[in-house]
């Protein structure tokens, strides 16, 4: 029977939740890396036991961790498990933690500057890894979304990282941090075209490469940020919160923007709003049903300053029509006095039938539905604030 494994990143460690295909009984392991902020964990679609994790701390910076046995043991890439640990020669090399922006003259990228809150220009400065996206075709290739916004790639299993610095050419001097920092948080690969990758950056926008990351352009036509940008239709500066795609329809993209839920049917060339009857179109995550490309999920949040559900009711909204017509999914979710948030990387779908959907909250709950959202149960209730939730469907 199939199994599912949920990888949960929290403010104070990582947790792994596992169940068989019925998704009724769950085993919980963790905290892994107790006390550290675990921004994101994600498994390789090529080798599910290969899991990459971003371990970070405002105090001690960024650590990349990797598991090759499904999360039972972890090591910093470059240090084989079991290597002697008590002598200088046996220590991890530590190079997997090194994210240095490309300033090499060969690629013509002196370290450029971006806009700061006060309008001054600041050089790019590494802060943390928000998101790790393993390649669809190679377990040793993985992309990292960085704050200050940049895309890095490793082709050696996370040992070394190189910036795809062409991204900063797209008016990078005009990007500026949003309230959560100037973070590159979304990386979407097109399985039908390995050269095409979409990324999104808070308060900078959405971007696409068609040559494997060398050159990029903004894909923001149709986005409007009426009260956030001096030019509401500017090419860059839109606060994109998340982009989702169904793998079988790579030209159809769904976006949760700061405000507005948007859709593109032409690979991001143009966008139109599909917020429809949502109670509010602010929110963070957006996801697509594993087997129904027109079924989309969002979690409406009251406003940009009130990061909790409207009316104290935690509701996932589902559209079976690709947007505009939304239904509230409430069965099993708290419908009074609930003031949690659901962050952009904290919702995910499995590929079982019926499709499972999971999300984590700032209150430490991870909710799961084994029937595409019709009913929900709390898998765990009392974790630290949840930063990210990813699920793996295992044979």
């Amino acid at each position: 029977m199939s199994k599912v494994r949920i990888l949960v990143g929290t403010r104070k460690g990582a947790f792994i939740l596992t169940s068989d295909g019925t998704r009724k009984q769950w085993d919980v392991s963790g905290p892994h890396f107790a006390g550290w902020e675990m921004y994101h964990l994600k498994g390789s679609p090529v080798e599910p036991n290969r899991i990459y994790a971003s371990q970070t701390s405002s105090w001690f910076g960024q650590i990349i961790q990797r598991s090759d046995d499904g999360g039972k043991t972890w090591h910093q890439p470059g240090t084989p498990p079991g290597e002697p640990t008590t002598t200088p020669d046996g220590m991890p090399k530590g190079e997997s933690n090194k994210f240095v922006y490309d300033t090499s003259p060969e690629t013509g990228k002196p370290l450029t500057t971006h806009q700061h809150y006060d309008g001054t220009q600041r050089p790019w400065e590494f802060k943390r890894v928000w998101h790790l996206e393993p390649s669809l075709t190679d377990q040793d290739t993985v992309y990292a979304g960085i704050e200050d916004a940049a895309l890095f790639r490793s082709t050696d299993g996370g040992q070394t990282w190189q910036e795809l610095s062409g991204l900063r050419d797209v008016k990078g001097n005009l990007w500026q941090p949003g309230a959560g920092g100037m973070c590159l948080h979304t990386i979407v690969q097109d399985q039908s075209n390995p050269q095409r990758i979409y990324i999104a950056i808070s308060a900078a926008g959405a971007f696409r490469t068609d040559d494997g990351g060398k050159t990029w352009r903004a894909i923001t036509r149709g986005l409007k940020s009426q009260y956030e940008l001096p030019d509401p239709s500017a090419e860059v500066g839109h606060c994109v919160h998340r982009i989702a795609m169904h793998p079988t329809r790579p030209n159809v993209l769904f976006m949760q923007k700061h405000w507005d839920v948007m859709r593109s049917d032409d690979a991001g060339e143009s966008w139109h709003e599909i917020s429809g009857n949502l109670p509010t179109d602010f929110g963070f995550p957006i996801d697509v049903h594993a087997h129904e490309p027109e079924t989309v999920y969002v979690v409406p949040i009251k406003s940009d300053s009130e990061h909790f559900p409207p009316d104290g009711k935690l509701r996932v909204y589902r559209s079976r029509t690709g947007g505009n017509e939304w239904e509230a999914l409430t069965n099993g979710l708290p419908q009074r006095d609930c003031y949690v948030n659901v962050l952009r990387d904290a919702m995910t779908v499995d590929s079982l039938d019926p499709c499972g959907i999971y999300f984590g909250t700032s209150g430490g709950q991870v909710y799961g539905s084994a029937n595409a959202g019709d009913s929900w149960t709390a898998i765990v209730r009392d974790l630290p604030p949840v930063l990210s939730v990813e699920v793996q469907t295992l044979p």
Binding site: W36, S57, W59, F60, I63, T79, K93, G94, E95, N97
Partner: protein, 98 residues
């Protein structure tokens, strides 16, 4: 031998218990101690000071002999008691919030 005390998270990363002792060549300064520490425990690179600029991370503090040396130049000699091993050089996570 120079004695260095690491904060708990960095002891876990470096896989050490208790104090670390280091041979430091030449003058004993913040820079030479951190160079020796990172040479012996490369996984600590980037956790105490930035990979590129080698500037102290904002929430890391350096104490020794009941003094806060965090804002000293990295090339200023550390107190004699640290250089002789009588006192440890403490690397501390700053108190920042609750």
């Amino acid at each position: 031998m120079i004695r260095v005390v690491l904060p708990a998270h960095l002891r876990t990363l470096a896989r050490v218990d208790g104090e670390v002792t280091l041979d430091v060549k030449g003058e004993v300064t913040q820079r030479s101690v951190l160079d020796a520490l990172e040479a012996r425990y490369p996984m600590l690179r980037g956790t105490i000071r930035d990979h590129g600029t080698l500037k102290r991370r904002a929430f890391v503090r350096f104490f020794a002999c009941e003094q806060d040396l965090s804002h000293e130049s990295p090339d200023v000699p550390l107190p004699e008691a640290v250089a002789t091993g009588a006192e440890p050089f403490l690397i501390v996570g700053a108190m920042a919030g609750g």
